[in-house]
């Protein structure tokens, strides 16, 4: 009897080891419930779509064999303390090839130090807060295992200010929420206004808390200050409260802000009051090329929706998996350190739905975070809310992307 148990146990262990050795284990983390869930769920589902495609084709060619991708999912609920716990758990797993995900900048700041300590390769997507990467340059880290696959707030703030200037606005109000994300967004905006020649006069800088529904006071300050436009940094539900408040006070000024204005819980809760709102986007749910069309169609089909909750999170999750897979293939290993080295010097271009990624990253240089940032200004366009969807705000962007994909 004892022998059989022992035999069962050993075969069990052996098969477990065998199982572990022929898969590439990737963790997908993000808020799958709560206020940021539209981004987290879309990112996860987009990533899983890519993983399914890779696995259906047999997996990634590593050494002499094809390895399938195995997924570990963790819901951080958008809470910093949950994020820290999950990062500790994942970084002690030992056989993890890498981590993809995280939506909230606060969660990045709470958790990423554990990955960096163990040298586990992580691609942050779609968290955009500047601090996610600048924390490492400020600390002067020499060797970094954290990469980002998202248009950082610096690029976004630059575009928001640019848009306001292009629209010939001279007086604007800045509204932001009181989280890490909102406050750093405000600083980025003020910084960009200065950089772009102080053409905008800020007549009011107002904040609001998560859960606030009455924005009358903040909006009246903007209105009576003579603001011709509102620049905003926050997340879905509160952004909707701002749009609804503007409609109540008959404020017709354009609302321009971070990409969170494309979240479904903004678009749904603001309804028709959201029309015309502008925000930077890395991906628009518009089938402009066959590749984009097949991505959108397969997302709709796989998850039974007619609209992706957060299209750019989905597309970034999808492309991030392909970039990661390319690094595994180049490294010819599931060792997370080797994958990091490969990511820093990716030789073959990776065809994604957002763009074709040629050498997205370089060797980490603490003096220049851009070495671990994949997105540049060219990959980001202005989006606009129209009847419950995000469309291209400028026709020229649409034409440009079609042309680039044709090359």
């Amino acid at each position: 009897m004892k022998k059989t148990i022992l035999a069962v146990l050993t075969t069990g262990l052996l098969s477990l080891q065998a199982y572990a050795a022929d898969t590439v284990k990737i963790a997908l983390t993000g808020p799958y419930t709560g206020g940021s869930a539209p981004m987290g769920v879309s990112m996860r589902d987009g990533a899983k779509l890519a993983i399914e495609e890779i696995n259906r084709a047999g997996g990634i060619q590593v050494g002499g064999q094809k390895m399938k991708i195995e997924v570990v999912e963790r819901d951080d609920e958008g809470k910093n303390e949950r994020g820290a716990l999950i990062a500790q758990e994942l970084s002690s797993m030992g056989d993890l090839a890498g981590v993809i995900g995280t939506v909230n900048t606060g969660v990045v700041l709470a958790g990423d130090k554990y990955f960096q300590e163990k040298g586990i390769t992580k691609i942050i997507t779609p968290a955009a807060g500047s601090a996610s990467m600048t924390q490492w340059s400020k600390a002067g880290v020499k060797d970094l295992s954290i990469f980002r696959f998202s248009a950082d707030d610096g690029i976004q703030a630059a575009m928001v200010v640019e848009e306001a200037i292009n629209r010939k606005l001279t007086k604007v109000a800045i509204l932001h929420d009181s989280t890490n994300y909102g406050v750093s967004g405000r600083d980025d905006l003020l910084d960009q206004i200065k950089k772009q020649g102080n053409k905008l006069q800020v007549v009011a800088t107002e904040k609001f808390n998560i859960g606030d529904k009455d924005m009358t006071a903040q909006l009246l300050k903007a209105k009576f200050g003579g603001a011709q436009g509102i620049l905003i940094w926050g997340i879905g539900p509160e952004l909707a409260a701002v749009s609804n408040g503007m409609a109540k006070l008959r404020m017709k000024q354009p609302l321009i802000g971070g990409w969170t204005l494309s979240m479904s819980n903004y678009i749904d809760n603001a309804g028709k009051n959201g029309n015309g709102t502008l925000m930077p986007q890395t991906f628009i749910e518009d089938p402009i090329t066959p590749k984009v069309k097949s991505f959108i169609d397969s997302y709709h089909k796989a998850y039974g929706v007619s609209r992706i909750p957060s299209p750019m999170s989905a597309a970034q999750g999808y492309d991030a998996v392909y970039v990661f897979a390319a690094a595994v293939k180049q490294a010819q290993s599931t060792d997370t350190h080797k994958i990091k080295d490969a990511l820093e010097d990716l030789r073959d271009p990776v065809k994604g739905v957002i763009a074709t990624w040629k050498q997205p990253y370089g060797k980490w240089d603490p003096a220049n975070e851009q070495t671990h940032e994949a997105f540049r200004r060219a990959q980001v366009v202005m989006g606009m809310v129209q009847d419950g969807r995000v469309v291209f705000a400028n026709k020229a962007d649409r034409q440009r992307l079609i042309k680039e994909a044709g090359k």
Partner: protein
């Protein structure tokens, strides 16, 4: 122009204040009869709003959803009274404090599991397009809150004054032991007050849901404000609660304009401290006479 601005701020704030008042009124109803309150009242508001949303999703028209949701709230109120309050009152204990908190937590977890953790919009036939009155912008939605609050409070007060059952209610509130000696069942009356309190909470949830959206945490901020209103006004006066609610709402709105939006929560707390320091029975409360 400037006065218009102040009036606009005060009106917008005061309309939100009406919701605080309605929830505070729910505290007042049960406190009057039983000297106990439901610390899970916020969850009652939230659960009733979710239930009403489910009714709407099932295709019921709005005018049926409102009484349906209120009935659900009343049943929840009765459930709280039976499970958390009755036995502990019979034993003249304070067990209801912990038990109502626990029931609230239970309700919160139940909501998260049944309806999920996301904020959801609450569709309503009442328009949110602004109306213009003397230079002030108000939405019909906000007006519906004010009308609903005043109507239900008026009806309950009328019931307390004009009907036999209502008079029993007042008698138990005035002196429970004496009322019992007169043949009035205190248990029944307390039960009634919890049912009414649940009904009022449900109405508050339905009225405020189109503005705040529906989610498990929708009432967590409201309930704290309602506590402040109840304590500042005193737990004896129904109309005092409305006045303090209006005042606090307007004050919050004005504070966040003049002192900055970060100070929004401050006036409620300052009022609470002031009231407790100067008039511990509330601005509209009766001084308690304790026989020695």
């Amino acid at each position: 122009m400037y006065t218009l601005l102040i009036v606009q701020l005060a009106v917008s704030g005061a309309l939100m204040g009406m919701v605080y008042a309605l929830i505070a009124y729910g505290f007042q109803l049960t406190f009057a009869t039983s000297k106990s309150i439901n610390f899970g009242q916020g969850e009652l508001v939230m659960l009733s709003a979710f239930f009403s949303l489910t009714l709407i999703d099932s295709g019921l028209p709005y005018w049926l959803v409102v009484p349906g949701g209120m009935l659900f709230g009343a049943v929840l109120g009765l459930f709280v009274e039976r499970t958390a309050v009755r036995l502990s009152l019979e034993q003249k204990g304070e067990g209801w404090i912990l038990l109502t908190i626990i029931l609230g937590l239970l309700g919160f977890s139940a909501a998260e599991n049944i309806w999920g953790r996301d904020d959801r919009p609450f569709p309503t036939p009442i328009s949110s397009d602004p109306l213009h009155f003397f230079g002030i912008d108000v939405t019909p939605l906000e007006l519906s809150v004010a009308i609903g609050v005043l109507a239900v409070m008026g009806l309950v007060e009328l019931f307390k004054r004009k009907t036999l059952l209502g008079k029993a209610f007042e008698a138990v509130s005035a002196d429970r032991d004496a009322a019992q000696l007169m043949g009035i069942s205190a248990t029944r009356t307390i039960q009634l007050s919890y049912g009414l309190s649940g009904l009022v909470a449900a109405l508050a949830g339905i009225l405020v849901a189109p503005i705040t959206t529906v989610g498990p945490t929708m009432a967590s901020v409201l309930i704290l404000k309602a506590f402040s209103v109840a304590v500042v006004a005193g737990l004896d006066s129904g109309f005092g609660i409305v006045l303090v609610g209006l005042f606090l709402g307007a004050l919050e709105s004005l504070t966040s304009f003049y002192l900055g939006s970060g100070w929004r929560e401050a006036p409620g707390l300052v009022l609470l401290i002031l009231a407790l320091a100067v008039r511990p029975n509330g601005v509209f409360g009766k001084a308690s006479i304790r026989k020695v």
